[in-house]
Amino acid sequence: MSPTIAIPREHYLNVSYGVKSWLFTTDHKRIALLYLTTITLLFFVGGAAAVLMRLELMTPQGDLVQSETYNKLFSTHGIIMVWFFLIPSIPTVLGNFLVPMMIGARDLAFPRLNLASWYIFILGSLFTLWVIVVGGVDTGWTFYTPYSSIYTNTFVVAAVVGIFIVGFSSILTALNFIVTIHIMRAPGLTWFRLPLFIWAQYATSMIIILATPVLAITLSLVALEHLFGIGIFDPALGGDPILFQHLFWFYSHPAVYIMVLPAMGVVSELITAFSRKRIFGYSFIAFSSIAIAVIGFFVWGHHMFVSGQSVYASMIFSFLSMLVAIPSAVKVFNWTATLYKGSISYQSPMLYALGFIGLFTIGGLTGLFLASLGVDIHVTDTYFVIAHFHYIMVGGSVMGYLGGIHYWFPKITGRMYPEGWAKFSALIIFAGFNLTFFPQFLLGYLGMPRRYHFYPEEFQVLNVLSSAGASILGLGYVVPLIYLIWAMRYGAPAGPNPWGATGLEWQTSSPPPTHNFEETPVVTQEAYAYGMPEEDLKGGR
């Protein structure tokens, strides 16, 4: 029988009350929650756009909204989901909360900068929401020139400003993580004893630092061209619209790794915790994160195979794109091998982790289809691409994010969420997701291009299946919103380590005190020290 578990008397949530104590906090844990609130709101805004799109696409005709509106919907969906949900999600919520805790620090290196980054995020979000309200932008999240710089008359400049501002927020978070991880590790915590979540955050932060500024300047040039008619990308002056694509994808390809690497970091944590086993191939997984980050900078041209790019450039990009798949495969194999002879339990974080592995495998493999030049000619710019990246971003990253939210929920709030509802949601999400996006692979190979407001009749059946799946998926996302909010108040107290997991974050109370640890921990063991004779696992249920 486990002893009665109680919420500690004082912790970071009740140490002070009132709006000002939140809006002026420098506690990384509170800032994480500020971000959580903001991005959840934005997720549902982006999701609403998707709902409208999928409703429209149930019939071949464009009969729900006008074409201009549809074009603004998919643009809004992309912009919000990429820059205002996926990129911040794990780093600003889970990363902010856990990076100091996992390394035994009292806070990040620059707490005030952390708060500033949230305010900057709010400012960028307000700009973007304002754009939506006053009429939207219809360039797609990719802003290709010369449509975005010369031809469209939608709110390009304001949209760019919003994205530019939020890019700053991203950079500041990454800067904070890099400095913190380098300088503030607890005694004994060498690089190769770090949790893989930290390796993932570190690699992600490197990408953010190097790539985001290029996006910032590129979009600025589009805005300048739009405002002043100064045509850097204008063929009439000798400008090159393809130059925009090179500059844009130089950021936006690494950006997809910004979106997936943190989720991979979460999965590493979940797989070990719920198998209670040492991770298989720790250094291979750690180095794979770095390899993905590095190689990921050299593959951007695979978005441009039919842009008129030179055949030889395309071949180099194809080759490198094949290479970048290998470290991801290495991770999948190592996670699977970790399960071997593990002691596996199926709480919902584990369901999300296993779902991630399956769906990411599919998404990643379909990336190889796109990297194969001959096939890409046919499937690029079709629903095949849409299916591919949603398998990774939604089947992968969002599931990783939800798995992490559930896993660390007891640490963050001190309470447990209702496991039955959580399992139900995980399964609904998994089923709804596959029904939504698998038909899109078929649609893509059949030739249905993307960003189509209406389509030939023969594509209707698959579109209806996809829309049906989307309704289920949407429901799957709403349910956790409800029970997690409920559990924050009424969930059963969880105790310091309800999962019986290793990791410094579990060696302090739930919720933790403001300064995380009563005393700075000293690390003497490798990461995930399960199965060691001297390991004494506390907690459990």
Binding site: A236, S275, S307, V375, T380, D381, G447, H453
Partner: protein, 319 residues
């Protein structure tokens, strides 16, 4: 036309079959690994489910042989994908010398197709079966993309430059033509049909419709009207390179580079004449930017190409 739940598009070009073959390979490899991973996860999750709270797990840290295996084997498999895909891609960009050239101009929101013999179409492309067709494509405004799923080919239409791709239709019939690069409001409506006909029918089709000038004849007329022949001829006072036979040949430039005189080079020479000046000549050619439309450019290019193929013995350029 088709069943209500199609899963696979028709193969209507010689290229389509080859693309589908690579696709099947990709499907097989992917299917294998998906099934493998799913099966292993399922098997391990069931076999190693937690039976008691305190149970310990063996400290298995890794296995270098396994890591090597699952790096090397996937590497080999993806290299096959790469080589196969690259060779297909290279083919798609290497039109046979005898390919008939059709010009395509994209604009918001329609496709303008120009056959060399003169016949023009909007949102339709008629081609004969069994003949290689090279498409030279550009845009008048924003980026579009010319996509024929049944042929498995697609190529962006980019303003300010030419792109090109070729195919050989292998089945008669009517197939979808789509715009595949978002281009504004009516992007979804910027499609049409590709009609593949028997060669005799195609010949007949070319001859019907309102009589049009052939591209070459139109180009020749423009060459005079716009004043090109004023400099680019044997007897002119201004020194300009003679253009007979220049198409498709290497041209030495003032900068020391040597470039190929293809459609893009000719287009640039007309619109941006200072860009690639021929070695030994002064950069005095005026630009025709803004004075010539995309259609007219294509007509002049057709004419200059004709000068190489059927003109008299190419005269040597003076230095």
């Amino acid at each position: 036309m088709r069943s209500s739940l199609p899963l696979f598009p028709e193969q209507a070009s010689t290229f389509a079959e080859r693309v589908d073959a690579l696709y099947y390979y990709l499907l097989s490899v992917s299917g294998f690994f998906v099934l493998l991973i799913f099966a292993l996860i399922f098997y391990f999750a069931v076999k190693y489910r937690r039976r008691s709270e305190g149970e310990q797990t063996p400290p298995i840290l890794g296995s270098i042989p396994l890591e090597v295996a699952w790096i090397v084997i996937p590497f080999i498999l993806v290299m096959i994908m790469f080589v196969w895909g690259a060779s297909l891609y290279f083919t798609a960009f290497s039109p046979p010398a005898n390919a008939m050239e059709i010009f395509v101009i994209g604009k918001q929101w329609m496709w303008k197709v120009q056959h060399p013999e003169g016949r023009r179409e909007i949102d339709e492309l008629h081609v004969p079966i069994g003949y290689p067709v090279k498409l030279t494509i550009t845009s008048q405004d924003v980026i579009h993309s010319f996509y024929i799923p049944a042929f498995r080919i697609k190529m962006d239409a980019v303003p300010g430059r030419y792109t090109s791709i070729w195919f050989e239709a292998s089945k008669t019939g009517t197939f979808h033509l789509f715009c595949a690069e978002y281009c504004g409001t009516a992007h979804a409506g910027m499609g049409g049909r590709v009609v593949v006909m028997k060669p005799s029918e195609y010949e007949q089709w070319l001859r019907t419709g309102a009589p049009e000038e052939s591209l070459v004849a139109a180009g020749g007329r423009l060459f005079q009207q716009l004043g090109c022949s004023g400099c680019h001829s044997q007897n002119s006072i201004a020194r300009a390179p003679l253009l007979d036979g220049v198409y498709g040949k290497p041209v030495p430039l003032q900068s020391g580079q040597v470039v190929l005189a293809d459609e893009s080079y000719i287009r640039d020479s007309i619109l941006l004449p200072q860009k690639d000046v021929v070695a030994g000549y002064a950069p005095v050619m005026p630009s025709f930017q803004g004075r010539i439309s995309e259609e007219e450019l294509m007509q002049i290019i057709a004419y200059i190409r004709f000068l190489g193929e059927e003109g008299p013995e190419p005269r040597k350029t003076t230095r």
